[in-house]
């Protein structure tokens, strides 16, 4: 309860400052709309269904891209985690690839696949795969050797050992990978859509900018932030915390 009051209080202060800057007239009205105007744009966008449609398209891209990123990332991560040979050969490049901001892939995606939705999905996949792979590799490394030894004394080896010990033991790190893959994919999605031909939230943002509708631009930025925070808090962080608790890594 106290937490909610603190958070709402903070929001009120920020909105107040915003209104203040607007009222003093630091920027021209057309580039810096008032909070009321942005609220209006938000209402309007949802009421006439434009934002809903854009959100639907964005989530479709995200779902496809993130699913593939999780799949590829897991396969690469397990490969690098299990094979020293593979890790020595390719492990370093993974960190290099991971450090490339997703927007850098956009020109390449457009040249390869045109202004299609597939180009957007391609960017999302690249955005999520490497961080997923790095975390899955860490997950495999983090399996306590002691548990593997114990399982071996019980006659568990090879593939059963992998599925009965190494996989469940790495799930907490896997969940961290999932949360980060989502966060990176969400950023990549916006980068990709911003330069695409729509539909999607990022495309709507650029469209609004082209028509100098800054109220809509800010409204969309708010939507992007809210979705990012809500999905993280409601889905991934919660999932991660529950798993850590269950695995005894967190004192309840």
């Amino acid at each position: 309860m106290k937490l909610a009051i603190k958070r709402i209080g903070f929001l009120v202060v920020v909105l107040g400052l915003w209104q203040l800057v607007y009222s003093i007239g630091v920027f021209e009205d057309i580039v810096f709309p008032s909070p009321i105007k942005v609220a209006g744009a938000l209402y309007e966008g949802f009421a006439d269904g434009d934002f809903i449609k854009a959100l639907g398209a964005s989530f479709r891209h995200l779902f496809m891209g993130l699913s593939l990123a999780i799949l590829f990332g897991t396969v690469i991560g397990v490969l690098l985690g299990k094979s020293k040979q593979a890790d020595e050969t390719a492990g370093m490049y993974l960190i290099a690839l991971q450090s490339i901001p997703s927007i850098v892939w956009v020109p390449l995606a457009i040249m390869l696949f045109g202004f299609s939705e597939f180009a957007v999905v391609f960017v999302v996949v690249l955005g999520g795969t490497f961080v997923m792979a790095l975390n899955v590799r860490t997950a495999i490394y983090s399996v306590p050797p002691q548990l593997v030894r114990a399982a071996r004394t019980m006659g568990t080896n090879g593939i059963p050992l992998f599925f009965r010990v190494e996989v469940p033991s790495s799930i907490p790190y896997f969940m961290t990978g999932l949360r980060l893959a989502w966060a990176f994919s969400w950023r990549a999605l916006m980068a990709g859509e911003l330069l695409s031909n729509g539909p999607g939230l990022g495309y709507s943002l650029r469209y609004a900018q082209d028509y100098a509708r800054m109220d809509q631009v800010i409204a969309i930025i708010i939507i992007i932030g809210v979705i990012g925070a809500v999905v993280d808090q409601v889905v991934f962080s919660k999932l991660e915390r529950n798993v850590r608790k269950r695995w005894g890594l967190l004192k309840s």
Partner: protein
């Protein structure tokens, strides 16, 4: 002979530090149903030898045979209890005990076995709990139940009570004695505690260090339960202490010598 070690040697090969011989030519025969302790200072290779019997470490030279069959790799005929309980945190207590039973016999039989051994270690009430909800002593009892549930020919214990407090250790000593008498298992028990070895074992094999080797082999036929203030126990403790003192000093001298560089 039930468990036979012949001229067993172990050398670790390290790329950077070269090879290091832990011990060589260890000869040791263990009879069925006996409780045998391997006692020695750190670095004598007692845990390494136990891991070799478990099949977790390769045998560099010589051979280890269990009922005539040479040990090549780990297997469920040798149950192992480690110093750390090594339970699977994603499984509850009963599922942990069921782990080695999966795929052997029917599910119902497995469940009955698990229940029986959990009862033996007095943990029936905690079947559904996760392992991190249990104390260290309880976790170690789950590990013992898990090792026994697969009905191994020999139970290997690597300083199983070393990480527990004094009180808990005493309770577990008594429980282990009961379990041993009930199941008639052959137990090979590694410890660095002279008192623990004398309290529990039929036979204490004392190992020395640099190089690791067997320096003495005592049979103890005092009646159980053995009291700490029993004259014969004290006498034995003194005898073993005298034997080990030289070995411990050797380790200390070497460590101090290395530290002075």
């Amino acid at each position: 002979m039930f468990l036979k070690m012949e001229e067993v040697g172990k050398t670790f090969n390290d790329k950077e530090e070269g090879s290091f011989e832990v011990f060589s030519e260890i000869d040791l025969n263990i009879e069925e149903n006996q409780f045998v302790s391997l006692l020695g200072p750190s670095g004598c290779g007692k845990s390494t030898l136990l891991s070799m019997v478990a099949g977790l470490e390769d045998v560099t030279s010589g051979s280890i045979r269990l009922e005539g069959e040479e040990i090549k790799k780990a297997g469920p005929d040798r149950g192992m209890v480690f110093q750390q309980p090594s339970l699977f945190p994603w499984l509850n207590v009963k599922e942990n005990v069921l782990f080695p039973l999966k795929g052997h016999g029917s599910k119902k039989e497995a469940e009955e076995r698990a229940d029986r051994f959990l009862q033996m270690v007095h943990l029936s009430r905690f079947k559904e709990n996760y392992t991190h909800e249990l104390s260290g002593g309880m976790q170690q009892r789950v590990a013992i139940a898990r090792a026994l549930a697969m009905d191994p020919k020999v139970l290997l214990m690597d300083e199983p009570f070393g990480a527990l407090d004094e009180q808990t250790r005493h309770i577990l000593h008594e429980e282990l004695m009961k379990i041993w008498q009930e199941t008639q298992k052959t137990i090979l028990f590694v410890t660095h505690s002279i008192q623990e070895a004398i309290k529990l074992s039929d036979r204490v094999v004392v190992m020395g260090t640099r190089p690791g080797r067997i320096i003495a082999d005592f049979s103890i036929d005092l009646p159980r339960p053995r009291k700490r203030d029993d004259e014969r126990v004290i006498e034995l403790e003194r005898k073993v202490m005298d034997l080990l003192e030289g070995e411990i000093n050797k380790v200390l001298r070497e460590e101090l010598h290395e530290a002075s560089y």
